[in-house]
Amino acid sequence: MKEDTIVALATPAGVGAISVIRVSGPQSFSAVDNIFYGKGKIENAASHTLHYGNIKNQDDEQVDDVLVSVFRAPNSYTGEDSVEISTHGNPLVTQKVIELLIVNSQVRLAEPGEFTKRAFLNNRIDLAKAEAVADVINSRTEASFRGARNQLDGLLSNKVNELRSQLLNSSSFIELELDFVEEDIEFVNQDELLKRIDSIIIEIDTLLESYEFGRVIRDGVNVAIVGRPNVGKSSLLNYILKESRAIVSEIPGTTRDVIREEVSIGGVLFRLFDTAGIRISEDSIEKEGILRSQETVRNADVVIYLEDVQQAESKDLFVDLLNLTSPDKILKVVNKIDLNKDFSKDADVKISAKTGEGIDLLFEKLKEKTIGNESYTEKTAIVTNLRHHNCLKKSRENLINARESILNKMSGEFISVDLRNAEMNLAEIIGEVTSDDILNNIFMKFCIGK
């Protein structure tokens, strides 16, 4: 393997208070020494020390004053010698520093995910952690970050290991009966075995359920707003965006079809889509937009069906909506209650996009619809990764098979097949069995060094 030195910006690109440039590999110290002027040489600095100084270009002009952190192998993130340079948060400065490192030393720009790949290859992190790191990097909101963090700390690994050892215990009892048939020992009671398997299934179910929560805090909630013209879809969107200080982004260029906004409320990322209309129209220009709106509704986690308190209910539109999504995803919202407080319309939430009345409740309801009332703390193992989710699902299927075998009074070796497979599925989560396909996929997902 080539042991070269890599560099990349470790913090998001753009203007900020500070930016961090990470350098990793055997040439890290000498490369930094080539452009850094401080009290002493980084080459001679002790691990985990901080050094103030200047970065200068070939013409001895100062580029920035910086703080350099030194990490010596193997006690660094990647397991290699590495340096982190904290500069002022200006893209021009960071770009220049990276350029200087590459020009003056044997340093190249890191590929996406390469730092974490090295950390993984150097045994600094296991597969579950490597994936969690990808999630930290990808996490967009605070709650999402917490979810990724606790996995990093091994909560999921611990939980999975615990379940594995329970499975191994049950298997051992079965094997005892098969291999020591001649001995005078007590064998496992089938009811007891069933109980153990059931309790493991319940634990796996809890983990599986956490995935929906995990997915939501990771990927955010897609919310489509549907309603007849002038029921206040745009006003609702505008109100939310105006009031919320946590605007994440605005996607331009889609106004003709579907307007999309991202907003973080209470630690959950909501992605709001204002649909143009979902009724098929003869107008061919509109048709394209309508198809897109329909697609948006189909993909939405929740659909806000918005009505005007003053208008009669549109049965046709609601029927159309039911063709695109399931009733339990629909949140019936009545708008403009500031104009008429006394109405008999049936609704989940009553709001005024003008005064903001009911908006908080609206978000409560949105959360409830997507992540339920479950309260996940930082102490709970949460599944946020699709691969983990699939492994757990397979493990569960195998446990159900084992259960069936027990109920059908099958002999132990048959029960054992499924128990062992269930155990192997769990082992895959922490990377016991892995393939280069999984690895490639994982490393592809890292966005470090972009």
Binding site: M1, L178, D179, F180, N401, E413, V433, T434, D436
Partner: protein, 625 residues
Amino acid sequence: MKKFDIIVVGGGHAGIEAASAGARMGCSVGLVTMDRFALGRMSCNPAIGGTAKGHLVREIDALGGIMGLISDRTGIQFRMLNKSKGPAVWSPRCQSDRKLYSEEAYRIIFPTQNLEIVEESAIEVLVENGKVVGIKAQSGEELFCEALILSSGTFLNGLMHTGLNKTSGGRFGEQPALGITESLAKLGFEYGRLKTGTPPRLKKDSINWAILEEQPGDENPQPFSHQTDLSQFPFLPQVSCHITYTDPTVHKILEKGFAQSPLFTGLIKGVGPRYCPSIEDKIVRFADKERHQLFLEPEGLDSDQIYLNGFSSSLSAEIQLEALHKIVGLEEVEMVRPAYAVEYDFFPPQQVDLTLETKLIEGLYFAGQINGTSGYEEAAAQGLIAGINAALKIQGKPEFVLKRSEAYIGVLIDDLVTKSTDEPYRMFTSRAEHRLLLRQDNADRRLMKYGYEFGLIPKDLYDEVDNREKTIISGINYCQSKKYYARDVNEFLVNSGSNEIDSTETISKLCKRPEFNLKQLLEFNGASSESGAVALLNDEKALEQAEIEIKYEGYILRQYEAVAKLEKYESTKIPLNFDFTKIKQLSTEGREKLNKVKPRSIGQASRISGVTPSDISILLVYLKN
């Protein structure tokens, strides 16, 4: 100067398989043994087979080994263990006539063409340029060879313990083999010390048989060998075993002897098997257990001795006898020979390759207890594989390695080489992750093709198995497509205590109901006139195979899927001289272990303890580059 293609040192269960296979494959073989009448001698219990061990015997037989044949001709009680469980864990076992077993082994080995029995004791391994060239015998004579198979059992620096008495020897009344360990150590081999034990032999007439629980053999005994002539089987009269138990009084007496136990006083350095503890070990480790089961096994038809299975010990003879007298049925017993423990040298098996050739010295093979195993069957399996591989190598043919998904023998050798062992290794069915596929009933279907290829299985036998395979496959196809109609079959179903069907159902679906066997369903209502049914009904063994595959189809399929999933790792080969030390990213422990074992595939590497999943990922990355 005497020269053989292959020299086998040791005439135990491993040695005779190795010598027989090598000679029958066309190599000249010198079988070096201290006593020509000790061939295949049973050092411990007079029994062959048992859980997983029975599978090994069936596999050895399917490959063309001799253990099954000898056992069938000398068995005095045959039982199929685990009969209440599914077919995958049925395990054949027999009590053998100890004396006849050894005689039969001699009768088979002696006339073998190309095979010469050399009565000698080897004291040194001769090596030139990293390649084995022969041995030096105690007489001073040197014997030369292309390949040397060491299968010296418990004889390497063997030391027997009874109480504080120590006797040098590999087996009661027999000399140890001295010099070999030192000679191998000089060549750079690592060695260790293991311990095993054997229980007392009791005088038959002194036992009160009338009050003991009897354990007879099966009513319809089944032979081990695929070649045994059923019309003559069983060859010998059949006898029973008996069962008795220890109790707290017995335990108290034994405890008195602990102070002079070589085990508890630290005199015995070797590690004993956890699955076969001595009686004193059982009392200490399972203190809350008030009784331990003991089997009284006959040593032979004419023998006046009884083997007390479950009472192996290294306590003093006086204590043993005092305790025995408190056991039901043994109140007046006479002890012919006390139990003893034996310590011997072994060579941690990570030093051999999957062919059983040592990694250090070309042409040198280890088989049996020298590799840290315990048991006649484990030894025989290794002897056979070593013999076959030595012959193949001499003849310039590709090596022979069985996969874990193919045979218990594959599991055995892969476990030894990959994981090593620090206690005497015994086979268990649970060691085989693809257990449902590795049944004793299909050993011939799995392995006979290899035995035939090596010339160890006669053509007519192989053809029979090969033809049967076609019958099985077409028979299963027939059962999966042939449908019965409700109006025809419902009366029969109800009469058989089963449920009616609505419209139609295939034979294979009906066969999955526990209340039916395939024969009943095929014979029902004249279906038996159809060719698919007729072929099965005319071949009992094919019928049995088809029934198992149909009844347990779902489970068997899942096992095949698991095999297929792992196949990718098993087939990702690691080059022979791959240098693991160069990969710095490997964990320190992983790197050391990989370098020691030198796995040949990613699958094998992943089974090495201490090699982490990350290590495997790193290896995959490297092998790709």
